[in-house]
């Protein structure tokens, strides 16, 4: 009888985790007894975006492991435990805590360690490396008492580290041994422009500097002495001079090791011991180490497939090292043979010193094929060029046209995605091919957002988002799924187009809209959409006779209709603040009308069980007591949740309640494509859960951090940090613009999270529009918002003051009776609707009519 195979993974970084995910995705995880051991104190986190830790300073934000991942898949996870020895004969691994783990198959995913040059003084205090969350915590702590920081190494990671140090408020230096920055990825021309751009940001760059000694400084903690006699003083030093494969365990158990380190593997990622695999940065394939996430992930998938005995003979055959990234806000990309090392290679270069753009392509001797490229300052061509290079697609007659700006407005020489073979890899991080995306579209994923979530394409570095969008659209067109974006059968327009027609045409009624731009009688889709657009544009009272019949279920009676046809009532309690008297009033009203009361998730009180004819009387009492509509019924701002902030909390740094009340009062009543939720937290502990809201505000020592496009509910999404340390005036300005832009451009019933994910260009684009005013519409957006704010009215106050409108709230147009079918039963001391069985039994029913 065979025992359950024991699978041991050593190393719980991104690649180790990808391996586990690959096993789990195969559906075979339960056939194995899986253990993963990592020496860091937490499970896998996103090291690629390590610098993003500074945005929140919370490790959780980088977490890569889905909730319940280990438990659901019966994986034993050990954190903060280090494997110190492997016994290949006994097939056991021993850890520093003395525990021994048996294995049938062992996967080494131990990653790499930063290379620290053996310069005298490199072990002094305040000398760091840049690899783990603990490193970042230590750098942050040291920065508190420092004024100057220096990074040794001007490569990709070194520049990331320099950005972090700069953001910590230190005077920042980058010291590079080579004559240019990012020597591996870019050429001299690109390096020079990159250097200029980075120096413009206030970072000093020192190239061709060979550090020979680190000693005591006169003004700072350290003094660096260079071979050319120059010196530099700094308080903090970060080494980022490359990585070395973490192969210590492999050496200990005598696996084959490369001359310059690295655990030798074959195409199946097996080491010299077939029961042991190595993947990621610790592995050496064909004498090469791959220091990028994409090849690491690919190795993880190959190893998983081999262990599972899959027959598709998946092999690792090297990887494209092309890369695109943003360094200190500067776009940099490098493809293939960026330096033109291929014999006979020729290159074309375009430099725009005005706009600070550098582009170079390297083509084959024949001029037919693209071998490589360097892009600095503008990397929009990356996706296109990469596909030419990877798929050997024939270049146009004048290859230079690929990088020249199209001054006369003619379309650039783009590659129609149709030209790509199905095998073309679109997303290298997650190995998603054009064929995979097409299959997803055929399977019913009709938007980029859908495709992202079911294929993972564009979900890691995001470099391929635009290309994914093009493939999706091309496939939809090909399928003849006419991408029908019409709102409904009555209007051949999207919501965005309809909004424009209404706004520009000054259209104020549905009849006029239908006559000018639609057909038929309208429906439950276009009528509420039009009503919402009218309200966003003109902000008229929504129960005016020309608007009332357009309103969706809840808006129609300014209350939320529940399953038995009764309504719930929610008075506004801005910021969740309510006086004792207010609370007593609400309680008395609930008691008088025998309503069920419950506290909502938005920090207010909901009163259930009101019949249509009771609504005006209930609201009259609420309004007399100083309450106003809470718009719980509207696709509009719901609540701005808050914690008590600096007024009461011993940790609070700003008045979060005051801010929440101001925001709620500013945006209350704004009709939008879907509901909008906000929150304000008074400190980084985030008790108001602002990062799950459409607009989240978190207090900082200096002001506010603004997060956008988060969501709880069905598809939770963490909000993205949009702007940091802004003052209240800027905060309101950004939120004005953002909300109005959303109101104008989103689809019907599209929350901000989905809206943003479907914007081509995503968060960066949104920042350009809202912060940099790239479309030149910010003044207009602010004006439009101000006009909505200025024309706010409490809809319930308007209603109870209008006898004609009140007639709409009778249960019957011809009788004063109530609906006798509405009956309740008592539960936990309150009413709830009686179910069918209870109605039949007719026991203890409570009638309202």
């Amino acid at each position: 009888m065979s025992h359950i195979q024991r699978l041991l993974v050593v190393g719980n970084g991104p690649v180790g985790h990808q391996f586990l995910e690959s096993i789990v995705e195969s559906g075979c995880a339960t056939d194995y007894q899986i253990t993963v051991i990592g020496e860091e104190p937490r499970p896998a986190y996103d090291r690629v975006h390590l610098t993003a830790w500074f945005e929140t300073r919370q490790a959780g934000a980088l977490n890569m492991v889905a909730d319940g991942f280990y438990a659901t898949n019966n994986i034993d996870v050990r954190c903060g435990e280090k494997v110190v020895a492997i016994d290949r004969d006994a097939k056991t691994a021993t850890t520093d805590s003395g525990r021994r783990y048996d294995y049938d198959q062992l996967v080494l995913a131990t990653g790499s360690y930063p290379f620290v040059p053996p310069v005298p003084g490199h072990e002094r205090e305040n000398c760091f490396v840049y690899r783990t969350i603990e490193d970042l915590e230590a750098i942050t702590a040291a920065a508190k008492n420092a004024s100057v920081g220096a990074v040794v190494g001007g490569g990709l990671l070194g520049l990331e580290a320099a950005k972090a140090i700069k953001d910590l408020g230190l005077k920042t230096h980058v010291i590079e041994f080579a004559p240019r920055l990012m020597a591996v990825q870019v050429d001299d021309g690109g390096g020079a422009l990159l250097r200029r751009k980075i120096e413009d940001l206030g970072v000093e760059v020192h190239t061709q500097k060979n550090t020979q000694n680190i000693g005591d400084g006169e003004h700072c903690v350290h003094k660096l002495s260079f071979a050319d006699g120059a010196e530099l003083e700094t308080d903090i030093l970060v080494f980022s001079a490359g990585i070395r494969p973490q192969d210590a365990l492999a050496r200990q158990c005598e696996l084959e090791i490369g001359e310059r380190g690295g655990i030798a593997i074959n195409n199946y990622c097996q080491t010299s011991d077939p029961a042991i695999y190595a993947i990621g940065e610790c592995a050496l394939w064909n004498q090469r180490i791959f220091g990028l996430i994409a090849p690491g992930n690919e190795m993880a998938r190959v190893a998983a497939a081999h262990i599972l005995g899959n027959r598709d003979d998946k092999q690792f055959t090297g990887a494209d090292m092309s890369t695109k990234l943003k360094l200190m806000g500067v776009d940099v990309a490098s493809i293939g043979d960026a330096h033109g090392n291929t014999p006979g290679a020729k290159s074309y270069t375009f430099i725009d010193e005005q706009a600070e753009i550098y582009k170079k392509i390297v083509v084959s001797e024949s001029g037919k094929h693209l071998l490589g490229a360097v892009l600095v300052g503008d990397a929009d061509d990356y996706g296109n060029l990469l596909q030419f290079a990877l798929n050997g697609i024939a270049l146009p007659e004048h290859p230079e046209a690929m990088i020249l700006p199209n001054i006369d407005g003619s379309a650039s020489v783009g590659l129609g995605v149709d030209a790509l073979p199905d095998s073309a890899q679109i997303c290298s991080c997650n190995n998603v091919s054009k064929g995979d995306i097409c299959a997803a579209v055929q399977g019913g994923a009709l938007t980029v957002g859908d495709v992202k979530s079911c294929t993972k394409a564009a979900s890691t570095c995001g470099g391929c988002t635009a290309l994914v969008g093009q493939v999706v659209n091309a496939e939809l067109t090909k399928l003849g799924v006419e991408v029908n974006t019409d709102l409904c059968e009555h209007f051949p327009y999207t919501r965005q187009e309809l909004f424009h027609l209404v706004r520009v045409g000054g259209i104020k009624s549905f009849d006029e809209l239908l006559e000018k731009h639609g057909s038929g009688k309208g429906c439950a889709i276009c009528k509420p959409t039009a009503a919402s657009i009218f309200a966003s544009c003109w902000n008229e009272y929504i129960l005016e006779s020309q608007h009332a019949g357009l309103q969706d279920t809840n808006d129609r009676f300014l209350a939320n209709m529940q399953n038995n046809g009764t309504f719930s009532v929610v008075p506004r309690m801005a910021g969740g603040e309510v006086t004792p008297d207010g609370l007593i009033t609400v309680g008395s009203i609930a008691k008088k009308y025998k309503l069920y009361t419950k506290i909502t998730g938005g920090q207010r009180v909901d009163l259930f069980g009101a019949t249509l004819d009771q609504l005006p009387a209930i609201w009259k009492e609420l309004i007399d007591a100083g309450f106003e509509s809470g718009h719980a019924y509207g696709k509009s701002l719901r609540t701005v949740k808050s914690c008590v902030g600096s007024s009461w909390c011993r940790y609070g740094v700003q008045d979060s309640v005051g801010q929440a009340i101001d925001l709620e009062n500013r945006y209350k009543g704004l009709r939008s494509p879907h509901k909008i939720k906000m929150a304000v937290s008074g400190c980084t502990r985030e008790c108001a859960e602002a990062q799950s809201k459409d607009v989240g505000v978190i207090a900082t020592e200096k002001g506010w951090n603004l997060y956008v496009c988060g969501n709880g509910g069905m598809k939770p999404r963490h909000a993205d940090l949009f702007a940091s340390d802004i003052d209240t005036e800027t905060l309101v300005k950004y939120v004005d613009r953002l909300l109005m832009f959303y109101v104008r451009t989103a689809d019907r019933l599209q929350r901000t999270s989905v809206w943003m994910e479907n914007l081509e260009g995503g968060l960066d684009y949104l920042r350009q529009v809202i912060i940099d005013d790239s479309l030149g519409i910010c003044d207009e957006l602010e004006r439009d918002m101000q006009s909505v704010v200025d024309s706010y009215q409490c809809e319930w106050k308007t209603t109870i003051e209008d006898e004609q409108k009140l007639k709409q709230f009778r249960s019957f147009v011809n009788a004063d009776d109530g609906d006798k079918d509405i009956v309740f039963v008592e539960e936990r001391g309150q009413i709830r609707p009686a179910n069918e069985e209870e109605k039949q039994l007719n026991n203890n029913l409570i009638a309202v009519a």
Binding site: H490, G520, G549, T553, R556, M561, D821
Partner: protein, 105 residues
Amino acid sequence: MSWTTVCTLDDILPNAGAAALVGDTQLAVFRVDDRIFALDNHCPFSRANVLARGIVGSVGETLVVASPLYKQHFSLEAGHCLEDDSISVRRFPARNENGLVQVQL
């Protein structure tokens, strides 16, 4: 059978509905331009008396009301549900008689 007047035309908003009570029967009376239609106000899906509160419109050539709770469409003229053939609601003769809304039960 005689006609019962339930209200005036102006009591019902254009292209919308209102609930009416005739005897023990709860009706949903709809006004499309100046034409009147009457259905049972009871929605068979939600089992609540709410059809009069639905949005009035058209699907193709068929005039419909969408139930306000779960949005199924019912033909104003015939009472059948467009999403489910097996379901329909009672319809009643109704008319606009010189500005008076009248139904026959």
